[in-house]
């Protein structure tokens, strides 16, 4: 096997240019590439870099793609997968990049080792094992890249969907919209408390008009947030509690007696103003008459 193992690296190195040319040609011809998203120059460059790394690593003698010698190749493929994933290519399209190298490689092996069918078979088998492993590796890296994109998008969504607004200096409002899950509620509540400190606001109105249902866990988080705000020296008013939610709260045995609640956001705002010794008054009528 030693003698045969040494034939693949040598052939790849000697005929690298031809192999590269055929490989690129094959990729461009196949319908798998969305030419619009990937420039031909980029394709050539990446194919060239991969083949270089592949050849160099083969020369080191290792045939185990999981070993340290292959780490440069793996890193390259991981980066490639990540960038392809964000560009919108499918996992099989990315893996095809590696698998499509087989055809020109086998053709070259047949041409170079023509008179030795066993040698051709063995070298082809080695090449297949290597490229299969690398192709599958790109698929794994693709999955990881997709997962981290999704996680990041989820986090951004949580931030975007729960803005804290300043209704008036010293009065913040947090209009909650959509179904609250435990994790989202915690994040939202921490953000509210941080904004209270940052703006020096002493009152926060948490409006749950847009929340269809409240379960025990979410209600507990809401209450904990109110308690935490009170500990910090601020206060909360909960508004927009719909009749169904009021019923749920009572049935769940949740005690809201320590929290001020109002049916509507405007009632809550009025209460907040009152607490801060402010009130809204109409402007002078004479001014309006003069203009009219």
């Amino acid at each position: 096997m030693n003698r045969l193992a040494s034939r693949l690296p040598a052939i790849v190195e000697q005929h690298q240019t031809e192999i590269l040319a055929e490989w690129v040609k094959l990729q461009l011809e196949s319908g798998a590439w969305r030419a619009g998203r990937l420039q031909e120059s980029q394709l050539r460059d990446e194919s060239n870099r991969f083949l270089n790394l592949f050849s160099r690593t083969l020369a080191s003698g290792s045939m185990d793609t999981r070993s340290a010698q292959w780490s440069d190749v793996r890193d390259f493929l991981a980066d490639l997968s990540r960038s392809r994933a964000t560009q919108g290519f499918s996992p099989s399209q990315v893996a095809t990049f590696v698998f499509s190298l087989k055809q020109p490689l086998f053709a070259r092996l047949r041409a170079s080792l023509g008179g030795e069918p066993d040698a051709v078979a063995d070298a082809s088998w080695e090449a297949t094992l290597l490229l299969d492993a690398l192709g599958l590796y790109t698929t794994e890296m693709y999955q990881q890249a997709r997962e981290s994109v999704i996680t990041r998008q989820q986090e951004e969504l949580i931030e975007l969907s729960t803005p804290v607004v300043e209704l008036w200096p010293g009065i913040l409002a947090l209009p909650l919209i959509g179904t609250l899950d435990s994790e989202r509620t915690q994040v939202v509540m921490e953000t509210l408390l941080q904004r209270l400190v940052a703006t020096g606001s002493s009152i926060a109105v948490i409006d749950i008009t847009g929340v269809p249902t409240v379960d025990t866990l979410v209600a507990q988080h809401l209450l904990k947030t109110v308690s935490a705000a009170q500990l910090m020296g601020a206060d909360c008013i909960i508004s927009g509690i719909r009749p169904q939610i009021a019923q749920t709260i009572v049935h769940l045995g949740i005690d809201l007696s320590a929290v001020a609640t109002k049916a509507s956001l405007s009632d809550a705002f009025a209460l907040a103003l009152k607490r801060r010794n402010l009130m809204v008054v109409p402007t002078s009528n004479t001014t309006a008459a003069a203009r009219g």
Binding site: M189, L196, V197, S201, K224, A228, Q230, L231
Partner: protein, 127 residues
């Protein structure tokens, strides 16, 4: 050993608690503060805990003790600057810091103290 500095702001005392106070320091603070309240005839005590990354049951008890001792010496106590993470943890712990008024920052704390002291009746009792 360092001692926690106590500043005078008119008829109020301002204590800025440093990070990671250890027990001996906490005890020394209680001593210094009670002495100074009497010395300066202070009517209000403001404890700024904005630098505290953690409040456990011991520190909670210390704050409670300070508030109680001050009240006996006719001074009101307000704790300011509690960090959100600390507040959330205290709620989880079930510690409510009874008898302690709080405010978001020093300005709000001073305003609150002023309010409390102004509302005090001639006998010095605040509701």
């Amino acid at each position: 050993m360092d001692r926690v500095p106590i500043l005078r702001l008119g008829d109020c005392l301002l204590v800025t608690v440093q990070v990671d106070m250890h027990d001996e320091l906490a005890m020394a603070l209680q001593d210094d503060l009670t002495n100074k309240i009497v010395q300066s005839k202070a009517r209000g005590v403001l404890i700024d805990i904005s630098a505290l990354e953690m409040v456990d049951s011991f520190i909670g008890r210390m704050l409670g003790n300070i508030a109680a001792m001050s009240r006996i010496l006719d001074a009101q106590t307000v704790v300011v600057g509690m960090q959100p993470a600390v507040a959330i943890t205290l709620v989880e712990l079930g510690l409510s810091l009874p008898g302690i008024r709080t405010a978001l920052n020093v300005d709000a704390g001073l305003a609150l103290l002023r309010n409390m002291l102004d509302r005090a009746d001639p006998n010095g009792h605040v509701d």
